[in-house]
Symmetry: C2
Subunit: 205 residues, 2 copies
């Protein structure tokens, strides 16, 4: 079927549920709810409506499930930041868009976001090394925009590295408390955080 080829832009996941993908979805729910160490493979299997043994036909280990989720999540996040960094020739607008869209991504994908941000230490050293690359790329893109803005004279930033981390903190920490059923929408968070970012870099209207 052609429909099995469509993929979700935020997660890179097949929308039609092959067994492998259904297990990944179940693992996302389980890891986001109970954490990696607090999740049993029996829990994942039962969320996917399968027996415990079926998990291992599609994924070698529990940690492989985590790595696949973390890798897709990080790749999606890098794409969001890259696109925002290319959205305007103006570094000020780049920073606004990066923070707004990165915040929106964490709100819309808050369950994957929790896993991406909080389960880094649960990966094997080899897997952690690959994920660390994605994180360095994200930090570098933010720092580059700040340095370009300072160079252009449209921002006032005394500590580009520290300010880049602060802007990322603003965009990330919401996964700690955000719930889709709450009153705040991803649009509202994106707009507020984008405005706060402009102020933080000394470029507010």
């Amino acid at each position: 079927m052609l429909s099995t080829m469509t993929t979700d832009s935020a997660t890179g996941r097949d929308r039609s549920a092959s067994t492998r993908e259904r297990l990944l979805d179940a693992a996302v729910e389980a890891f986001a709810t109970s954490g990696f160490a607090g999740t049993t493979t029996r829990d994942i299997a039962s969320r996917a409506g399968m027996s415990p043994a079926a998990v291992y036909v599609h994924h070698a280990t529990k940690e492989d499930l985590l790595f696949e989720i973390s890798r897709r999540g990080h790749r999606s996040a890098v794409q969001i930041i890259e696109k925002a960094s290319q959205s305007s020739p103006d570094p000020v607008e780049q920073v606004r868009n990066m923070v707004a869209e990165f915040s929106r991504w964490h709100a819309v994908n808050s369950r994957v976001g929790r896993i991406v941000q909080y389960e880094f230490d649960a990966l094997t050293p080899e897997h952690r090394a690959e994920i660390a690359e994605y994180r360095r790329a994200i930090e570098a893109l933010m720092r580059d925009a700040l340095e370009a803005g300072v160079e252009a004279g449209t921002m006032t930033v005394s500590d580009a590295k520290g300010t880049a981390l602060a802007l990322l903190s603003l965009s990330i920490d919401l996964v700690r408390w955000y719930h889709p059923s709450g009153a705040t929408t991803p649009d509202e968070i994106a707009s507020l955080h984008g405005d706060l970012a402009l102020r933080m870099v000394g470029a507010a209207a």
Copy 2:
């Protein structure tokens, strides 16, 4: 001995290591490193130089250890925020101090901070209810300062609730990546975050 009465201001913990306190210190290290679910009582016992059974002479369950750590940590954090909120009659200075000192607290106590911020869901419902009160108090103090500043006309804040959460995110998220052995000092983080907070509320110099 008199020295057994001295307590650490940040954690409320006895500095001279009674067995009960040594176990709490060991649990902080273990929970901060491996998470609550990823920590075994054997790990805690061995870090404290004791047998697994000795843990239960001093603490009823593993979750009781987590609750005691979380309660002390939250109470310490509330005190820091309260003191900063009373440090000046000027709401602008209050906000600067609250963000600077709350950020400093998370840097200095980054291991306890991780547990405080990330292991809330591992508490029993009863314990979670008590901890939730401390969190509400912290958010209310920040929101009150923002509303006072808007009232006084010295801040420009369109969304006090969302901005309060953003200021707390800035102060908290650093526990995700901060390491005492890194290049950045708690003083530097406090200073930078305090300055960023002024800009975020539209009160920068």
